[in-house]
């Protein structure tokens, strides 16, 4: 009874955090909800005896992707994002209570997952690094190589897209407030005639 109940509670919380990610007016709160969602999803991965993927989910998604999202929010600044809701104290208290309950239930779910025995039918070392890595480098080696190329291309294109544009490519409006000295310095840096 208890494991099924724990599964249901964890599933509904995972769904709730997914809904919060989408419905949060402030993208920062949405990112925090996405982080909670990812951590709870990794609990499901643990329950499905995919230990390596559970760790990787938290590392890659929680540690890299969500932080990248928050980093971009910081880079764009507050004016790029929609204004947050007007402060409503009761609503805020309810949010804090919900966050606390969510944290408690997640921790309890982790203990339940850790305490329960693994289903016997998985082969030994099913979700371990050795098993997954062995399959990755034997049966799926071409896919691995292709993903390496994809990641390199993504990195190069991200740099190419966000590279600050040259002076000659800027719109006239943004050139108006710049002094001649700055123009000369920018041209010297670029090696182009001002």
């Amino acid at each position: 009874m208890l494991p099924g109940l724990a599964w249901l509670v964890l599933a509904s919380l995972t769904l709730l955090t997914a809904v919060l990610t989408v419905t949060s007016r402030s993208p920062l709160r949405g990112a925090c909800a996405l982080l909670a969602h990812i951590v709870m999803l990794s609990l499901f991965f643990l329950a499905l005896s995919a230990e390596f993927l559970a760790v990787l989910q938290v590392l890659v998604y929680g540690g890299a992707t969500v932080v990248l999202f928050i980093f971009v929010m910081m880079l764009l600044g507050g004016e790029a994002l929609p204004p947050p809701l007007a402060p409503r104290p009761r609503w805020r208290i309810a949010l804090f209570v919900a966050a606390g309950v969510m944290l408690g239930v997640t921790l309890a779910g982790a203990f339940v997952v850790a305490a329960l025995p693994v289903r016997p039918e998985t082969p030994a070392g099913f979700g371990t690094v050795a098993n997954v890595g062995g399959s990755l480098f034997r049966e799926h080696f071409i896919a691995f190589e292709l993903v390496g190329i994809l990641l390199t291309a993504a990195m190069v294109s991200a740099i190419a897209i966000t590279r600050s544009r040259g002076w000659h490519e800027l719109p006239e409006a943004s050139k108006a407030s710049v002094t001649d000295g700055e123009v000369a310095a920018a041209s010297a840096l670029e090696g182009q005639p001002g």
Partner: protein, 103 residues
Amino acid sequence: MMHAPTEAYLVLAALIFSVGATGIVLRRTMLVQLMSLELMLNAANLVLIAGNRAWPGAPSGQVLTLLVLAIAAAEAAVGLALIIAFYRIRQTSAADAASILRA
């Protein structure tokens, strides 16, 4: 092991996927749309892992999840770079502002 049949995981993944798809359609902030995209990729990962648990002969589902993780990272990097570049041009991150190509 929390005792839940594979079908329960499939239903949960379908619900998460539809929440993400709804977010992409309804929200107008590009950052939130990208986060909804991550939700959809997460739902796909959950299906892969649950399927691999149901047929645990080889860890192919987990390997595929690993590849999806890498693709999600690449997608997030390029998508966020596009958002930053768009913000430089239009000074906003609202998807409705990207209407230059509208006929």
